[in-house]
Symmetry: C2
């Protein structure tokens, strides 16, 4: 079925309702086999010895004792020729600038650029034996001077993390109009430096792989966000044809961006399995995941902004230094200032810097909550300065076209509705003017908007309607727990009238499903949903043709209603199963494929978050009392999943704003809080007492054949900033460096109020 | 790509060459995981208690002790309500007559109709513990009179195997012309009763399943010839949606027809797994497979034939009694006499009879080697009687149209070439006139022809061309060891120029591959080959379009050569991988689907086998010195696989002719040779000293878009009869009851020569 003839639904019966996850039972009962649960016959367990120094050179590795330890079946170090492969940090973003100055590292590179670099690996009969053996390996390190702060790293004479120096090519800057002219035209110009800390993804399931050789073919069970990317990484590292690398990740326990690429652990597991001719399971410990599998890097953002008294924005100038960690990756914060508001003069300049710490990886809207932290605090400050309500100032500057993309129109923009509907339901006006209290605890409310450009991508989905009317659905996409499978099943149920519990999904297996891109970029619905619908529509067309033949009625006179084919203007009808049974055991196969992007328009999801906080002016403590999120992500595909995404966004925003921060020790360069006790992710007890999700759902009819734009990342973009702005409303201070701690609050309260 | 625009290849580079199995390394190294090899974490082992009597009623089952045995986790008997499901012997042949008089049985039916019926089952921590427990189950049987011979079974007063009596509806008879008139016109009329024995399939891998529940979904690793049929059987038995039953059989160790359906063991494994909430492996012992999973049933065939002196056949009358075993199945022998020769008057009447023995199942050309045993010995006798060379008599009666199918034309018929070319290469004339020797050992040569109607069927195949030019191929068909995967890979290699070792196949998994019918009926090539080719052609078309865009040349000016796209009349060219790399990680997906049958014509494979034997007239011993098979199966897809099929056909023919026979004890009704020592399948030492495979390969351009008709079954159809005819040529006796034993030979030699 040609995509162009299909329009988004006008009415739906299942799509948009609160649908529980189709694999919920498996997930909560323990029946679901996550990669971490995989046990293969005769399996060994791997463990990795990692460099304990922030910066060091490996002089000598003695594994003599390790080889003799009980249960040990293989030890690998840089001395083993098969480990001398070229390892580049995989870059999963087409068109993303690969930072310069970086060389390929070896699997066990003697130049250890951060605490946690791989030095040796062991495979043994049990995890305990593997770890016991790792502990017997004696390594001579020559420690090197290190640098763990981006601003320090860029100074002359700083220790070089990469051979070419610590300054790496940044994102191409944005230059629009003339900022000098813009600032000159402004009535108010403010400038502030904002900082965000390095955060760790910490998904529930730790990272790891199980590798098993089947002749010259490699099967890998790996916890990831897209098996086809992992397949590609492994194939490149081991120089194997893609067809001989099978990556399976039917279930996975969260990623947030940290599982978009293969780790060295994946390849180490494969090599250990090859060496021992046995399957090898190599999963990281929680501590290792704090060090080695990515993070949301720290940023230093100097933002200067101009506004007229009437609220018209005249200029933004953003100068950012982005942390990379020890290897190149994706890191940029310009996405908000460049596009969220109508502004004729914009200059964005980003520099990326290596430091001696674990490499960053995409983390739920990479760079966007950070850029938002700067821009939306600045907007709040500008509003205050010109005496305008923060919501009003934002409404005044709603963009009409996509300024960062040749002024192309948006397929839809609900930012205005997010602000107005959000304010109305939140009770913004009342809350904003309500007395803040005169006790120790005072209250305040804040607002912040944000946007995100959800991706899309090519995918092929196969729907099989069985002879008994049940359905098998095969899709390549991984389900991160966000409900990708549930949405796909809902689409099929919507089109074919098949009950959800008769639909069985196989997904995320490069051997048996078809290509889908990584589940990231808030694009799973928009990339995998349309081909799912096309596949179902192909089946529908086939059924209509069968029915026409059976009923001796032209196809044009037939309608499809709730799993039944009815003849218009007649009582004649045929249930789907009356048709499928005619085909004996043979399924009806529908195939949907393609890449689904609107012609000349730009797709963006918009959001406005509101927060109410309570701050203790004596102790500096803060509590988030309630949050409301108004989202324009186009059509709601599953109201339950939608809410959960939004609430998760609140929590991760709260973490950025208030609790999370990787702490590197300035004396040793080592992470001092690589565990759940010292690295504090928000829990249910930290959650706002009241959380409201308000889908604006403007039924985008142009973004794709579903009308849904993408929600995962926008849900976290403005959350932290809304909290920071609420803090300012409560007690009049701005904490520009996240996270907001009681100590910072007390310090700032004690300072003379010179800040905006 | 529409099927109608595609023609079989004119020239090929890979197809037809001797290609080693693409999974040969895995199969011989032990890397291939057959269902018998599957080990799941926490798995239990099942064992079944079977009735030791040929006919009995279960009065009482005491499992009290079994439940207390070490390691036992579950015991199931007919007392457990979940076992009270309706079990019908699955009938996998659309349109095949289901024999009457049969009721559904229960899983543990108290009426045990044969030695080996299921009475109880146990799941325990080890196979040994399961068997120990089975042995403690005490059963009170009331034995019944039994019948184990079809002719006895049809006599009045015979013990009733099924409630409605032992006579079951047979195949619809053939009636063509007027046999009385035909016999009146004949110069010679002969009549003889031929018998074949019951043979056991004995594939290398015994039958069995591993069942694992994943919530409300059932995963079954099962050794079978078509997972979609097994899925359907399980779904029907357990009343589950097809989508929730996943059957996996990536590898399987032979079937010959015995693995076309689910066994009770499959469902018992599923129920034990459900009861214990653990995976259960239930594989039969070799002895059980002799009793319970099918056989090639015995037949009694009375054949009367008339011929004129000039060799013109005037009439065939065949009256057959076919053994069913204790339950209904497919069993008929009329396929040869009805069609192999031009004959205006034919009357075929078949009766099927139940006996107290294991049910038969399709066995490599079911009924055809048996029918051939009668027809082709008769042809030999007719030729002798009218003094004509047996090859000449056959050539005289080559059919021009398919007489058993409304005289529709054949897509191709190479029977004449099989006879003439076969005779030439075998040296028929010389061998036939050569002195037979005057010592104890005398020699003779024999010939027999045969035909088979290869099936076809719907299938969907998916070919994925990866960005590095390697290929993944997904197909539903099981590979019985006949090389289905190798043929599929060769088709893709032929079309796309991709080396075979860069093609990886996933197959036979109802969860992740698309429908294909059972691998049986010599139809795997003709059912699964065409969609494979269409899928590759779709990719080719896509590549040509990409190339046209890249090279700015119309598609019509491009040619595809050895994995490269060349511009006609120019040096410009593009390798496939230059195009695939443009697509980042995304594969190019080709889908082929459909059912591939020629419009109004009939597809038949033809064969003529020649045998030379040596017989000791003092001891009755016989050796097969050499065999030659001339086959018209259309295009040779893989010369190596072709030869192996033919040589395997010789061996199974030799088994039928000389060594194999299920022996039931007349006193007890029990099988006395249910093991490899007493049931003698031919081994390499029994093989003819010289085996020649002579493909006639007439390039059938009408049977389908490959030109290949199907070889698996024809290879065994005339083999036994050629041996029997060679025996007659050597020493002048006809052994009409297979197998030919030394004792029979001696007895017949001692008899006065009254036989033809």
């Amino acid at each position: 079925m040609a995509e162009e003839t299909v329009r988004p639904w006008d009415e739906t019966k299942i799509i948009g309702k609160p649908i529980p996850p189709v694999d919920g039972y498996e997930r909560v009962s323990g029946a679901a086999v996550y990669p971490l649960d995989v046990i293969l016959p005769n399996m060994l367990y791997g463990a990795i010895l990692r460099c304990p120094h922030a910066h060091a050179t490996v002089k000598k590795v003695d594994v003599g004792k390790a080889r003799e330890m009980p249960g040990v079946r293989a030890v690998l170090t840089d001395a083993d020729p098969e480990t001398r492969i070229e390892w580049y940090a995989p870059m999963r973003f087409p068109g993303a600038p690969v930072a310069a100055n970086s060389q390929a590292s070896r699997l066990f590179d003697p130049h250890c650029r951060y605490e946690g670099e791989e030095v040796a690996a062991v495979a043994a009969e049990s995890p305990q034996q593997a770890w016991d053996a790792v502990r017997t390996i004696h390594v001579e390190y020559e420690t090197q001077p290190f640098v763990i702060d981006v601003e320090e790293a860029l100074k002359p004479g700083a220790p070089a993390v990469q051979e070419g120096g610590n300054r790496a090519r940044g994102f191409p800057g944005t230059k629009r109009g003339d900022v000098a002219k813009g600032f000159a035209e402004a009535d108010v110009v403010l400038e502030e430096t904002y900082r965000t800390s390095c955060l760790i993804h910490v998904p529930m399931e730790v990272h790891g792989s199980v590798a098993q050789w089947d002749g010259d073919r490699l099967n890998v069970w790996d916890t990831n966000q897209g098996p086809f990317g992992i397949q590609s990484d492994i194939s490149r590292a081991l120089k194997m044809p893609l067809s001989k690398v099978r990556v399976i990740s039917n279930y996975m326990g969260g990623g947030f961006g940290s599982k978009q690429e293969a780790g060295k652990y994946t390849v180490i597991a494969a090599l250990l399995a090859q060496k021992t001719a046995r399957p090898v399971k190599l999963f990281l410990t929680r501590e290792e995941t704090f060090l080695c599998v990515g993070n949301r890097p720290a940023h230093v953002m100097k933002l200067k902004a101009g506004v007229k008294k009437d609220g018209t924005l005249t200029a933004f100038q953003l100068t950012a230094v982005n942390e990379l960690g020890a290897y190149p990756t994706f890191s940029g914060v310009g996405g908000q200032a460049g596009e969220l508001y109508q502004c004729p003069n914009v200059l964005i300049d980003e520099t990326q810097a290596y430091i001696n710490a674990g490499q960053s990886r995409a983390f739920r809207a990479p760079g966007y909550p950070e850029g938002n932290w700067a821009l939306e605090q600045m907007m709040d400050a500008l509003a205050e300065k010109i005496g305008m309500d923060p919501v009003e100032l934002r409404l005044k500057n709603i963009p009409t076209v996509c300024q960062s993309s040749q002024n192309r129109p948006y397929t839809s923009t609900g930012l205005r509705e997010c602000l107005t509907e959000g304010a109305r339901v939140f009770g913004w006006r009342e809350a904003r003017s309500r007395p803040k209290g005169d006790g120790a605890w005072v209250r305040g409310v804040g607002v912040a908007s944000g946007l995100w450009g959800p991706g899309s991508g090519p995918a092929t989905v196969i729907v099989k309607l069985n002879s008994d009317g049940s359905v098998n659905l095969n899709m390549g996409a991984a389900d991160l727990g966000t409900g990708t499978k549930t949405v796909a099943a809902s689409i099929v149920a919507e089109e074919l009238g098949v009950p959800l519990d008769r639909i069985r999904i196989e997904n995320a297996d490069t051997g048996t499903t078809q290509y889908s891109g990584v589940s990231g970029g808030s694009k799973t619905v928009s990339a995998d949903g349309p081909p799912t619908r096309l596949a179902a529509l192909e089946i529908k067309r086939f059924l209509l043709e069968m029915a026409a033949e059976q009923l001796k009625v032209p196809v044009a006179n037939l309608d499809f209603k709730d799993g039944t084919i009815v003849v218009r203007g007649s009582a004649q009808k045929l249930a789907i199963t009356e048709l499928t049974q005619l085909r004996m055991q043979q399924e009806i196969v529908g195939v949907g494929r393609g890449r689904f992007v609107p012609g000349n328009k730009v797709v963006r999801s918009f959001a406005t978050h509101f927060a109410e906080v309570e701050v203790n002016r004596h102790t500096g403590e803060m509590r988030v009392l309630r949050m409301l999120a108004a989202h324009d992500s186009g059509r709601v595909m599953n109201l339950l999943g939608y809410r959960n995404q939004v609430f998760g966004g609140f929590l991760q925003g709260l973490g950025l704003a208030m609790t999370e921060r990787r702490v590197l020790d300035s004396d040793s360069g080592k992470m001092v809080n690589a565990n759940f006790h010292d690295y504090k992710i928000p829990t249910a007890k930290d959650a706002p007492g009241e959380m409201t999700c308000l889908p604006i759902d403007p039924h985008d009819t142009e973004c794709n054949i579903l009308g849904a734009k993408g929600l995962g990342e926008p849900a976290t973009v403005p959350a932290a900033t809304a909290i920071a702005n609420a803090l300012h409303h409560a007690i009049g201070i701005r904490v520009t460096a996240a996270p907001i701690t009681a100590a910072q609050v007390l310090t700032l309260l004690a300072e003379p109020k010179t800040r905006g």
